[in-house]
């Protein structure tokens, strides 16, 4: 008898029909005799509907109340699913975040799980009950409801899998796995059978929306095997597992293109020690995520500093940077939103050199200018003009032969 977590996202429970369909998937696993914990998101669209009402009511966001509001959506899905399953003869019972023992810190709307009190859910499993758990939510030490941020249901699922030492944490969604590239961009993109935690982390932070970044971090930390599957079609998906020697044979596992980028350039900064540091400390304190940074060679004791931020953070970054630029006596601040980041990810890069060179050559061959570069042990990213993004991704997909299964 195995112990599984099955997490279903918003589109998988987006209507009564979808809930009925998912109930039958759960029933199947239950009939096979496994221990099973189900984690659900709110119906798709519900979180947006509630957020819109919150904005209509007040311009000032109140995080504690926003959590009370947003956490109502999952209560609806867990109750409906438990009802549906019981009518199918499955011994199901709903659990809110509090009831399943997800204890978090006090950071409303983006709380971190501090521990999982599994007593109640373990007792339910002992009794043969299938707990139907509200994802995305927990309770802080003050007994207030908290939420775990966008995609937080994945985190709930992995946290429960780690606490219960589950055999696999299945993430059911509207795609059937992780692909070598976005199939909408690259028709020959291929579904990966498995991928390492580290590669998945890079892909997630590069904008692959299939899995929430923090959930993959947690899975890696506790060695929780994950599998991304489709709730819309049968068949296995992509396993997210610990890296093995097999994987190192593959040079590049996936390619991403990310439009959610904007480039800010502070022009004519006096080239004195500490000025760049001052600027980036202030930006970090405003919780704005700076991705890449470039500082040009100095001319006449003046230099240019460029960096990229997510487009959503651009406005707040700019108001900050304009003030700072004035303060340090920089000449002006320029913005470019028409950029995109193209990235190669693969653990094989650790043991194979020359990947970067091949990437640059491929882009150059297609006449694409590289504006910024950043690398990690298993990733190379280039910022290019936005209009070239798809061309770049397709060219690289072909160059690294990602349409062909590994070892062929």
């Amino acid at each position: 008898m195995a112990c599984y977590i099955q997490k279903f996202g918003g589109t998988s429970v987006g209507s009564i029909e979808r809930i009925q369909h998912v109930a039958r998937l759960i029933e199947k696993t239950y009939r096979e005799g496994h221990q099973l914990v189900v984690v659900l998101s709110a119906m798709s669209g519900e979180t947006d509907r509630l957020s819109t009402m919150a904005r209509e009511v007040s311009q000032d966001q109140d995080d504690r109340e926003l959590d009370v509001l947003l956490s109502s959506g999952e209560r609806v899905t867990i109750a409906l699913m438990a009802m549906m399953l019981k009518s199918l003869g499955v011994n199901a019972r709903s659990f809110t975040g509090r009831q399943v023992g997800i204890v978090t810190d006090g950071a409303h709307t983006k709380a971190r799980v501090s521990r999982v009190d599994t007593q109640r859910v373990r007792a339910a499993l002992q009794d043969g009950v299938v707990p139907i758990v509200a994802g995305f939510q927990g309770m802080n030490e003050a007994s207030d409801v908290t939420t775990l941020g966008r995609g937080g249901s994945d985190l709930t699922a992995v946290a429960l899998a780690a606490a219960l030492k589950a055999d696999t944490c299945f993430i059911y969604t509207d795609v059937d796995g992780i692909y070598t590239a976005d199939p909408n961009m690259v028709p020959s993109a291929r579904k990966l059978e498995k991928i390492s935690y580290e590669e998945m982390l890079e892909l997630a932070s590069l904008g692959a929306k299939v899995l929430q970044t923090r959930s993959v971090e947690l899975a890696a930390k506790y060695q929780v095997p994950m599998e991304v599957r489709s709730s819309f079609q049968d068949g296995s998906g992509t396993r997210v597992v610990q890296e093995d020697t097999d994987m190192e044979q593959v040079l590049v596992s996936g390619i991403t293109g990310d439009r959610d980028q904007a480039k800010v350039t502070v022009v004519g900064v006096p080239d004195q020690p500490g000025i760049a540091a001052k600027m980036f400390v202030a930006i970090a304190e405003a919780a704005i995520n700076v991705d890449m940074i470039i500082q040009n060679v100095s001319h006449d004791s003046l230099t240019d500093i460029s960096f990229t931020v997510p487009r959503g953070d651009l406005k707040s970054a700019m108001s900050l940077v304009r003030d700072l630029a004035k303060e340090v006596g920089a000449r002006t601040v320029e913005v470019n939103e028409a950029i995109a980041k193209v990235s190669l990810v693969g653990v094989g890069m650790r043991s194979h050199s020359g990947v970067a060179a091949r990437m640059f050559a491929t882009l150059s061959r297609d006449g694409i200018n590289i504006m910024m570069i950043s690398t990690s042990e298993i990733k190379i990213s280039c910022v290019v003009e936005e209009k070239y993004m798809e061309l770049a991704v397709r060219g690289l997909h072909q160059e690294f032969e990602l349409d062909k299964p590994p070892g062929v």
Copy 2:
């Protein structure tokens, strides 16, 4: 400094605009410097929307899960209201049923409040916070959410008022008070300035939907002064208070007409001891509320037994009664749904005789046949043909001069 409870029903918080309007009402009381606890229902229509989804998912009602589902609606309104109030500069904070300490028994969908743990709400009031409380919900000893039945938010408000010894429990709704009769039926109906708990209880159980019966019972028990007001227009409403000598001067306080009635007659029942008892015990065990009962004089050792039930219970009552009728050898069972119950309510009846006689004479004068009669200390009800209901109510309203203020 007084301590007030303000409860707003579903229509009062039925849209963003209504929530904004109610927030300003709350702000006004807050600025006057009173201690204030606000209790909210779900947005109007929300409970029906959720109930419909539950029925679509499963035919078998699962009460525990239904409570998880239905209790989500109030979380939305309390969060939105707290946000709105904070943006008006009011120090508001949302409280779920659990957080405000409403502890109930385990009877899901119709739980009874067993105690109110006021520690947290008292601390909030001490800190100058306005608690915005989710009505209709509580938590049982197993730490599961429970709901208090239709109109349960009134019960939350009165329970808090009793526990906090509040000066008045205001029930804001879409009507501006309790009337001598339904103004839709009797244009000259007059708003009562005050009414006793007992009269209100009779009116509520006779189908006046303004206040939930159990909340009036609780208010009477703990002597909580209530006031029914409109959230749509300014001005005072109707106070529900302890009976005073003043009230006894008034013969009749209110008249109701109730169409939600059906009459069942078991024809040709053998007139033996225990047969009626057997029937009504079985009906009571099925939790069907029998209102009036008549047993005819026996002919040839056979008798007819008639009783009324709410129309919603008719189907289940009939299947039960048909079986019982067969069992005891009764001839047949007849149903009449075209009936209505007309009632006079007033504490003055205790000290004045002749009210019943005047009622019967008035109905007779208008050619209305009385099918059944029942009385209590402060109420007389007659069952009449449904088509005569409005005529009866109007005639009685005039006969007892309810359009004129008392003492004039």
